[in-house]
């Protein structure tokens, strides 16, 4: 009699006669989900006050809108939960609350056929490839509007751009501002970016050479020192 014949008709769970199996045969295939950690050993919970990042507020708003609290229902919170609970334990532990939410929203919308994996992949690549200056909609601090006057040199840069309008278009100037490396872009002020882009545009138009501009800058710098 082969082992298979002997075991036929017996539930594997009731078969405790095979010592090689140990407790394995008694272990259910599905047990506690990793997320379902109530009562498990854990450190002390330290409650902290914190504000939400702008992107976190946006993820929350997205879920409110998608679950149809105010309009048509495109998904349920149960689907949101299901896809959070389907994350691998390592991913679950290494992501923050709203990171889990947005991952799950993406999965749910794919399952629902509202977006395709391909569309989402393309959009994610597009976002990653976006130019540094094109920061609309990205997480950012609060914009604090302030009143301020312009320095004399700033007024002159503005006037220069107006006067050169027939020689250099505003789009050319923008192109050169947008070509600045992110670090330079972030560390320069508004009119500093303008004057750099004006110089670049005049060089490209052949109205000025790099050499001329370089010499003039040397001259000015040595005069002021």
């Amino acid at each position: 009699m082969t082992r298979n014949q002997k075991d036929r008709g017996q539930s594997p769970i009731s078969d405790t006669s095979a010592p090689a199996m140990g407790n394995r045969a008694l272990t259910p295939i599905f047990s506690r989900g990793h997320h379902d950690m109530g009562g498990e050993p854990a450190g002390r919970v330290e409650p902290t006050e914190h504000d939400y990042a702008e992107w976190e507020r946006r993820v929350d708003a997205l879920v409110v809108l998608l679950t149809g609290i105010l309009g048509p229902k495109l998904m349920t919170v149960d689907e949101l939960r299901k896809n959070i609970e389907a994350l691998g334990p390592q991913v679950y532990d290494s992501t923050t609350y709203y990171e889990r939410w947005i991952t799950s929203v993406a999965q749910t919308l794919i399952q629902r056929g509202i977006v395709t994996s391909e569309e989402l992949g393309r959009k994610m690549t597009e976002t990653q490839n976006r130019s540094h200056h094109d920061m609309g909609g990205l997480p950012a601090g609060k914009v604090e509007p302030t009143e301020h006057d312009y320095a004399d040199w700033e007024r002159r840069v503005d006037a220069l751009a107006v006067l050169l309008n027939s020689k250099v278009t505003v789009d050319e100037r923008r192109k050169h501002i947008e070509a600045l490396p992110p670090q330079a872009y972030d560390s320069l002020t508004y009119y500093e970016r303008w004057v750099i882009s004006l110089g670049q545009a005049l060089i490209q138009r052949g109205l000025l050479t790099t050499e001329e501009l370089g010499r003039k800058m040397e001259q000015v710098c040595s005069r002021s020192s």
Binding site: F30, R32, G33, D36, T76, D78, K82, E85
Partner: protein, 106 residues
Amino acid sequence: MQPQFVTQYASGVAPCFQVGERVRVRKAAPPGHIRTPFYIRGHAGTIERLCGSFPNPEELAQMRDGLPAQPLYRVRFRQKDVWPDYRGSDADVVEIEIFQHWLEKA
């Protein structure tokens, strides 16, 4: 527009437990999204109230309508029954909202 929270569903399962009745939580572990915490499965408690009937979240999670709506109860458990090493008062309880299909007469 005001948020709408529906608690009455035309197609619903009739409630079969009364307030004060002893019930036991099924000790099951199916795959999928489950709203019954793992730690309470297998424990006995008392029906504290009927909260209303709601579409079954296990079905909603699979993109189905979750109907017929299932009665949802608030069930009260003694902390001492749930946690063998519980050091608080005998009077301490934990209340959990559990759907009818997870409950059996104790």
